[in-house]
């Protein structure tokens, strides 16, 4: 229920922010409805539903379930997801600087090392990372050669 409360407040802030943004739209009412009508209508309904959800969060009980071991493990590991999102943002910045091949290889290798769960010898890691490099090159060749999608180039290639 506390989650729903937070989500409702977040949604109301979202609606408020975009309602303000909608006042900046330069809309000419040529015929029928202005450009601001539809987004404002949608924001209004979202805000209304969020208020209902907020009110309900104080009165309606939720099913109380016993936390299993795996759920506890899951919450502990949730930080990895945020690290992966952050790494992906860095990867996107790097694409423009070092190009697709280098940045993708670095990203894949980092993700692999971050999520690999078994303890392995450095030789096995080296083989796996080598495989990821081969996959990067293979994907690049396939997209450029077969699908004619030209990938961003950076400082080197």
């Amino acid at each position: 229920m506390a989650n729903n409360r937070l989500v409702s407040i977040g949604l109301l802030l979202f609606c408020g922010f975009f309602y303000y943004q909608s006042t900046l739209i330069e809309s000419k009412e040529l015929s029928g409805l202005p450009a601001t009508f539809f987004p404002r209508l949608i924001l209004g309904i979202i805000a209304f539903l969020s208020v209902i959800m907020l009110i309900k969060s104080f009165f309606v009980p939720t099913k109380v379930t016993k936390k299993s071991d795996s759920t506890e493990g899951k919450s502990k590991k949730e930080w990895i997801v945020w690290v992966l999102f952050g790494l992906f943002a860095i990867y996107l910045v790097l694409i423009d600087v070092v190009g697709f091949i280098t940045s993708s290889f670095l990203y894949m290798a980092t993700v692999y090392l971050l999520i690999v769960q078994q303890k392995k010898s450095w030789k096995k890691h080296l083989v796996a990372i080598g495989g990821l490099l081969a996959i990067t090159l293979g994907i690049t060749l396939f997209f450029q050669g077969v699908l004619h999608v030209y990938l961003p180039k950076g400082l080197f290639f």
Binding site: Q21, S22, I25, S27, L30, M53, P61, K63, G73, I139
Partner: protein
């Protein structure tokens, strides 16, 4: 007839057939790896379809879709965990049958029931889609607006059981669809000065972000203890004659489950997961041996598998005939057609008859490939479930990035992927319906255009209710909302009485 012959000629090209084979293999692979979903597989197929002809692209996706639906049964039967959510009910009798020493029978029954379900769903698709589209061709902007409102409300109310969250998810999607230039007057909306946003968010990075990127990252949170291993030397042999005999003696179950699956699939938002569970439940209630369900009954496997595959034919009916996708996968198929400038809807079957017949044929041919490939390659697919996530995840994440980049050849779309990956992760974490959000993104702009077109034609708002079809559709919308509100109130009362009982206890 001429159009049918032209589509047969187009679909029987060796490269189109090869794409279907590749699609079926990819679908089965994704289907049998627990944690990967069919929707994820189809989302990743999108970028490959851009450079292909529309029919080839759809054939590839069709292969992935049908392959994925049947691939889920491998881990459902052998591991007791569904490879995809749409194989949930398959585990109820599939896994016990394997435990009873009949793994070959469980897999063969599931596979052949999937095939039969696909055929029946496909036949209904071929018969129903032209009828529905010839009816919908008379629609004006009022009817289209009401139809889209109905589609959005249905997907929100049928979603994951939480009405308010389902509606909010759908409306958030509709709101995201308003970014960019206003479709009528050309005013800039929520562009924040970014030229890349003038045309709004492209929905393909959104689809990949919501269905593949965010889902994949949430897989990381699962520990290695969640992984299962299979006995690779398991005996999977079961003669075809016995499977056909099994199916023939349960022909009523096959037909009933396929009809249930097709009907559920045609409802916006209901999808193959609900079809799978509902059909199993109906079969159990109709059976004289209902108490034996869950112990390895063949009818249980048949009902679950025939329904999830036939639901795909059902989901294509509103997609092709009305332009309202019946499931997350058909949202993506619609997206692939839109990339090629083809608009599914009432005029689709008239304006693109060769493509429409080609899609029908691709459905049947993919079903045949699914049967053959899974029957002969089952041992190979068993080995694939062994590939650890730390090898798969980095590669699939990069494919997501590439898929988004390939839409317009710009890095901005990969940023869109990241943003909607985060949005998808939050939506899933807080139990919002992902399919409703995505359907909102796709249908939002069309809903707005039709609303504004209707009002600029005639400012009388009562026309939405007084025009017969529009009125009926809005009536259905209100009815589905009332039904959802009533069932939610009932659930809450039940919860309240349960919690007060537990306090007393």
């Amino acid at each position: 007839m001429e159009n049918l012959l032209l589509s047969i000629e187009a679909i029987l090209q060796w490269d189109t057939l090869l794409l279907m084979v590749v699609g079926v293999i990819a679908g089965i692979v994704f289907g049998c790896i627990p944690g990967f979903t069919i929707t994820m597989a189809v989302a990743l197929t999108l970028p490959f379809s851009f450079s292909l002809e529309p029919l080839q692209g759809i054939s590839l996706m069709m292969g992935v879709w049908l392959g994925g639906a049947s691939g889920g049964l491998i881990s459902a039967c052998l591991l007791g965990i569904p490879g995809t959510p749409s194989a949930m009910a398959t585990t109820f009798d599939g896994y016990p049958m394997v435990k009873n020493g009949e793994p070959g029978r469980a897999l063969s029954l599931g596979l052949w029931a999937s095939f039969a379900g696909s055929l029946i769903g496909g036949i209904i698709l071929v018969l129903a889609a032209p009828l529905l589209s010839s009816w919908a061709i008379k629609f004006g902007p009022w009817e289209f607006f009401s139809l889209m409102v109905f589609g959005l409300s249905a997907i929100a109310t049928l979603g994951n059981g939480n009405l308010i969250k389902g509606l909010i998810a759908g409306l958030l999607g509709v709101f995201i669809g308003t970014f960019g230039l206003d479709p009528v007057g050309g005013a800039q909306r929520f562009t924040f000065g970014l030229t890349d946003l003038l045309s709004g968010f492209n929905y393909l990075p959104i689809l990949i972000g919501i269905f593949a990127f965010s889902q994949l990252l949430s897989e990381v949170t699962k520990s290695s203890a969640d992984k299962f291993t299979l006995d690779k030397n398991i005996n999977l042999h079961y003669p075809i004659s016995k499977v056909i005999k099994d199916l023939a003696t349960s022909w009523v179950s096959v037909i009933r489950s396929s009809l249930v699956g097709t009907f559920v699939g045609a409802l916006p938002g209901a999808g193959s997961s609900i079809a799978n569970i509902l059909s199993y439940d109906i079969e159990k209630k109709m059976s004289k041996h209902s108490k034996l369900f869950g112990t390895g009954r063949k009818e249980g496997i048949i009902a679950a598998e025939a329904a999830n595959n036939s639901s795909e034919g059902g989901a294509l009916i509103p997609t092709l005939a009305l332009g309202i996708p019946g499931s997350a996968v058909t949202v993506m198929m619609m997206g692939a057609l839109l990339v090629h400038g083809i608009q599914p809807g009432p005029y689709f079957l008239v304006s693109e008859p060769v493509l429409a017949y080609g899609i029908f044929l691709a459905f049947f041919i993919s079903a045949i490939f699914m049967l053959l490939i899974q029957a002969f390659g089952i041992r190979l697919f068993l080995r694939i479930t062994d590939i650890p996530m730390h090898y798969l995840l980095p590669v699939v994440l990069i494919l997501c990035a590439l898929g988004s980049f390939a839409v317009n050849n710009r890095v901005f779309d990969i940023w869109v992927l990241l943003i909607f990956g985060v949005v998808g992760y939050f939506l899933k974490k807080f139990n919002f319906t992902l399919a409703a959000f995505v359907l909102g993104v796709i249908l939002g702009p069309m809903t707005e255009v039709n609303l504004r077109r209707a009002i600029s034609t005639d400012a009388d708002l009562t026309l939405f209710f007084t025009r017969p079809i529009s009125g009926v559709l809005l009536g259905l919308t209100i009815a589905s909302l009332i039904y959802a509100v009533v069932s939610e109130i009932r659930n809450e009362r039940k919860l309240q009485s349960e919690s007060s009982n537990s306090i007393k206890g």
